[in-house]
């Protein structure tokens, strides 16, 4: 594999011909190696999957060549695209058959149960934990909009990735992110209204 600097990569990939072909071979090989490491923790990813991801990434990279700003190594940027392609597809596979109802059904009273208060903690700390749980329970039950609640529970508790939930909610990822952001702000506001400082809250559960 030839060692190319950013300009050389861009030049080689920019117009069809033997230089581009050679660059694509090298880049594909590099992305495949990178994805092998990137996805190492995911046992359900096959060699064939990685080849597919690398191929999709190459197309995106070629399409988006002009958007490369040269603020990092071209190969870093390319790996970034490949990793994103891989995770997007994996998430789609994992969650595509999960319905929204299934994802947000919550048995009554199970959210934030009392058991999270640590009986071995000092009284003061337990009181803090109780305050925080009460604040959170109140906000989630009473202050979030239906959409915010659905988003919050599905993403933070159910663990559904945002792109997947956005599609199921017929919205886009940005709008969904805003729902979650607003929900968090409401939680924060409630905790602070109870006189809890950020420091108090972070220390409360011994994180």
């Amino acid at each position: 594999m030839i060692d190319r600097n950013n300009d050389e990569w861009i030049a080689a990939l920019s117009s069809p011909g033997p230089q581009r072909d050679a660059a694509l071979v090298d880049l594909r090989a590099l992305l495949v190696r990178g994805l092998g490491y990137a996805m190492a923790r995911h046992r359900n990813v096959s060699g064939a999957d990685i080849e597919d991801f690398a191929q999709d990434a190459l197309l995106k990279i070629l399409d988006g060549l002009k958007s490369f700003r040269g603020e990092s190594r071209f190969t870093t940027w390319a790996h970034k695209v490949a990793v994103h392609v891989a995770f997007t597809e994996l998430r789609r596979r994992r969650w595509r058959d999960v319905s929204l109802d299934e994802a947000t059904s919550l048995p009554e009273g199970s959210l934030l149960p009392q058991k999270w208060i640590d009986p071995s903690a000092k009284t003061e700390q337990q009181a803090m934990q109780r305050e925080i749980l009460n604040a959170m329970r109140h906000v989630i039950a009473n202050e979030l909009t239906d959409k915010q609640r659905q988003a919050f529970i599905t993403v933070h508790i159910r663990g559904m990735p945002m792109a997947e939930l956005a599609e199921k909610m017929n919205t886009n990822r940005n709008a969904l992110y805003k729902l979650l952001f607003d929900a968090r702000k409401k939680l924060k506001k409630q905790m602070m209204a109870k006189g809890l400082s950020a420091q108090d809250v972070l220390a409360a559960f011994g994180s």
């Binding site: 990793v83 945002m162 940005n174």
Partner: protein, 77 residues
Amino acid sequence: MTLDLNTLKRIVRQSITTREDEIGCRQCFEQLDRFVEMTLAGKNAAEAMPLVQDHLDHCGDCHQEFEALLDALRALE
């Protein structure tokens, strides 16, 4: 659906540390290659690019991709 203590801690932390100037996934993604290179170089990326760090602290999906990208680049070095 089960809520475990680590999840609770994470939700609490992510809520109380929410900032008004939080950026979204796309903005974070655009800067992620620079952020990851800084991290690899042993520089304080969180200090140099605080909004990216902030987003990664609040977005599980982007955080997961960042970690994977870091793993890959470290292994390839």
